[in-house]
Symmetry: D2
């Protein structure tokens, strides 16, 4: 089969590799029908993720068809159409029992496209298939379903739930890239009174409005703190979400939040940040970090099927699976291409 | 009457001042029967707390006898023996409704000995008396009760509750000064499986054992991270409490905590700290800060009366109220005097 | 002034009475600009509520203008347009500190139109004005605001919050009268995957659809349990709300709920009900009862102002305040009049 | 091997049966080293539990040694000393993901000694071994560990956690049999301010004191409601636990609880009970039912190892495994024998 193989920093190939096969009782083999690319894949390609070694097939999101299952797999069987989640789970360890699958100690967590071969391929071996795949509901398209593999659970769990957003609350989201926009969408599920999106790219701010932000702030030209406080009785946001991954946006998030509020970090950080404890120590701030657990995936799938959660706005570009390298080019140059999520499908 | 008056950085006087009088319907005038000193008072005297201006009577903890009450005060009356809490509360604002009295927007919060005259005096005016005083139960001594004015609610709320300590959990407390020791005591109420106290002073570590720590670590000579991980299946503590207020101990706390755990900052910080987001972003860490709300004071008083919470170990030195300056000397030189809490009583 | 006076079971009068005046420092005197009737008022008139004695002015919901305030009132002042909440609160007692204002031990709770004179009058005295009135926001009409005095907080707190409805959950509401319909509206704020409304009146079921129910069941003709289980993988609803107040509907609610789910009782019951513990003991059911606390009123007002919560569908009939008796006739004969909420306004 | 076989209502035999063998990849075969009897076994023998059919080996609690494991079992291996929990769990279904293992839809839940052969035997087959056994810690005896198979998790989860007992709270436990006494012990972990035990048997009330009750009430001779209210400012208990399983004790529990409190039903009920909704509807009561999930077993085991949880008081009688019938006689006649828990061990 063909797959996208990481060949060291800066180098990737769409190349012929052996087909995967069952290696544990709990595995499934899944034919990839639709797959997408993630900002994390770009990080890997720069060499920033040391757990990914050359030769690895990338990709941790897919919708596909089960080809075969190990003897211990109970919930899916050959022929089933499934969502392949970015997180797998042993189901038995301390963290899996707490639904913190992202921290699995038993061989799960984020492994696909990281420590085992991933989904940017014609076929993928999925470990712990019972807890890594979800039967696809009828009436939801592959490409919409694909948004449940990573981006929507991440936004909901690491942004909205970690942020403890309450009905009627004020949420400020710093960064209007794909994950920031997904946070706008996920936040609306809780009926906040105000969703503010902050970015320096006017195009993305326009998108944020379309995704459901009430107010957008171009913090290249406006003082976000002034605007947010002006909209919240001078107090600040109940929840500030960091959705970029650099120190400046993190610091902004910590100033936007009101006493008693929460800063939910969603961004992937490559460097430390200064935390102004001399200001924050007495302000009753909660600050959270997190990897997605995909504990919400089944629920979000129900909402998508019910028509309550609409993922269509994410998909900006579509490719054949074989055009993987072109898809990377388009996704990697989002400023120019205005790509949010690109979807590659089996032809 | 006499009172301890702040006269600018480094200068304090035990001097004659006018008696306080009722200035609002919601005030009470309270004769001070027992009062204590707090580490915060020492911070004020160094000039670190800009809200405290020269001429201010210090002190935010007392047990006393009500002399008079304003017309709107309902819960206490002249002659009542009361605990004066470090936090007052308007009872009506957004934060008071949420029991976040420390963040009161209506004139409450930490005001005594800060923005209004405090308790290190023969008599004190207590604003919002209904929500700033608690009727003293019979059978609990003044000096034990006094530990409920600040230190025990702070340890319980900002350390244990913010830290989300669960029954059976592992808690590591960095710093075994008065507030760290109070956190040991408060943590035991939840029945953790392991309480670890960390300090560089062997004397304080010995005290930590007496207060209920299972394991103590002298991190001048031992690697606290190694020890804590060795005691917790290699994972780290469920809850790490920072009870010092400097960067090194804060950083230590963030490394001691396991994935999914909480770092509860109790220390008062005068400077920022580096937050290693490049390590923490994916570890599901919750980090909290907070000023005490004293929302737990009534409950802790019930436990003290029931004999479940024993505050006797805190009190190392006793003085007459008139020996205020000597009490400050002893409390301010805790390394030499081994003082934890000093109590001054009306003779 | 004129007021609606209860004169014993079955007897009410719209009659001349003395104007109210301030009797405590914490009172406000409010001119009634808009007032509504509640099912509870009908209960009172049948003699079912023994705390209401003859001579009492009824009514516990209003929007009005402050005429005067006692000396201790801080949050409103003469001229302010306010919502008068059905629940008052001393702000100091055990329950008020927990935001359980409905259980206030200090003279609050449901007192208006019950133990003190109420809002169905030209002017009303509001006790504990700081915690019983809410400043009206601009841009929200009196009649919409009026729905925040009782029915919407009741549905949200006693139905949705007590029911612990989660995003993506299935909620079944037994009874599609005003409070059941309000529960449909309030449930939608949390983005459930399925809202089912159950009643025997086809007209009300049609209204339930308009309010946002996904599925309606006429349980005079359909087996509600079959339908609900058929829509929920055979498990039943996550949350079943009893919104009628009789044994049959209560029993239905307890059968509709899945293992691990919650039955939230909103209905006012005049008789006991059989609880099938022999079936329920092992099913992990939570059953809640409750009086509204109005702890959510300020938040719901924010959502109404933001356009997220639309109360317009409730108001079916409008009257001049002087037509109080006619309004009672229309409201009391809802089967014929199809009345949900009637609004009376000062002309 | 020998086993205790249910042969229809009223009939049981200690008899020769075939040894069990692995039948699924996820099974373990465990040699029984220590086993106990449960009140539920007595219920089964009266014919009250229709899921138990003649020929079934009873018993759902054991400590033993693993003899063999299926190929998919990861967490235990032959030779391991393990606790066999009363609840098994598929680990994949909706309920298992929520840690509600007692409600497992995938073949788990309470199956041992119910729908599959149980632990009152020399050897037992344990389904879903990864999630039904727990590695035994060193330093804890078999008989203490055995108390973690059912009674202690039941008391903690269904009594204390469902009851939402808070630190400083007042808990009243109706019934001082084994499960009521276990609830006393479990409640103490949270540091309530008052634990009240209620029974009609003075011997059991004396035991309740030894287990940690602050106050005991003989409700054959005292009015429990009067006493409890007298101890709680007239309000009643925060938490009332029903630990008997009949209507009278259930009704008592619902009267003992204060507004805003919780009634946690632990008792196994064979008949319905009247619920006084006409009194309870407005009192903000939460009522819970539940089967144990054993989600707390690992945590309680940690506390037992740490010396915080002492199970020694439960064990009143000890037998050889071969004296099973005699053990049943003693356990079945607890009034005369004063048996709480009997332990049978392999000789």
């Amino acid at each position: 089969m063909h797959a996208l193989v990481y060949a060291g920093p800066g180098v990737k190939e769409w190349t012929e590799v052996p087909d995967p096969s069952l290696s544990a009782d709990t595995d499934a083999i899944v034919r990839v029908d639709a797959v997408t690319l993630c900002g994390t894949d770009l990080h890997i390609l720069t060499g920033d993720v040391p757990t990914v070694t050359p030769g690895r097939i990338l990709g941790h999101e897919a919708v596909g068809t089960v080809l075969a299952t190990g003897s211990a797999v109970q919930s899916v069987t050959a022929g089933d159409r499934v969502l392949v989640s970015c997180i797998t789970s042993c189901g038995t360890c301390h963290y899996c029992r707490l639904q913190r699958y992202g921290q699995c100690l038993g061989g799960g967590g984020w492994v696909l496209g990281n420590t085992v071969d991933g989904t940017q391929a014609e076929v993928v071996r999925v470990p712990f298939a019972d807890r890594s795949t979800h039967l696809a509901p009828t009436g939801v398209s592959d490409e919409h379903l694909l948004m449940l593999a990573d981006i929507l659970p991440t936004a909901y769990e690491v942004g909205v739930l970690n942020g403890r957003l309450q009905t009627g609350g004020v949420i400020a989201i710093v960064g209007a890239g794909p994950i920031g926009l997904a946070t706008v969408l996920a936040a609306r599920l809780i009926s906040p009174s105000l969703v503010v999106a902050i970015d320096t790219d006017p195009g993305r701010l326009q998108l944020a409005k379309a995704f459901g932000a009430d107010v957008v702030i171009d913090n290249g030209h406006e003082d976000a703190l002034d605007v947010v406080r002006g909209l919240s009785d001078g107090l600040g946001a109940d929840v500030a979400v960091e959705a970029v991954g650099v120190e400046a946006t993190f610091t902004l998030a910590t100033t936007l939040v009101r006493p008693g509020g929460t800063v939910a970090n969603v961004g992937v950080h490559g460097a430390p940040a200064t935390l102004h404890l001399e200001q924050l120590w007495s302000r009753d701030i909660t600050l959270t970090t997190g990897l997605v657990d995909t504990s919400s995936t089944a629920m979000l799938m129900t909402l998508m099927k019910a028509g309550v959660l609409d993922a269509s706005r994410f998909i900006t570009h579509r490719f054949d699976l074989g055009d993987m390298l072109e898809a990377y080019d388009v996704f990697g140059d989002a400023r120019a291409s205005h790509a949010l999520k690109v979807v590659l499908t089996r032809s």
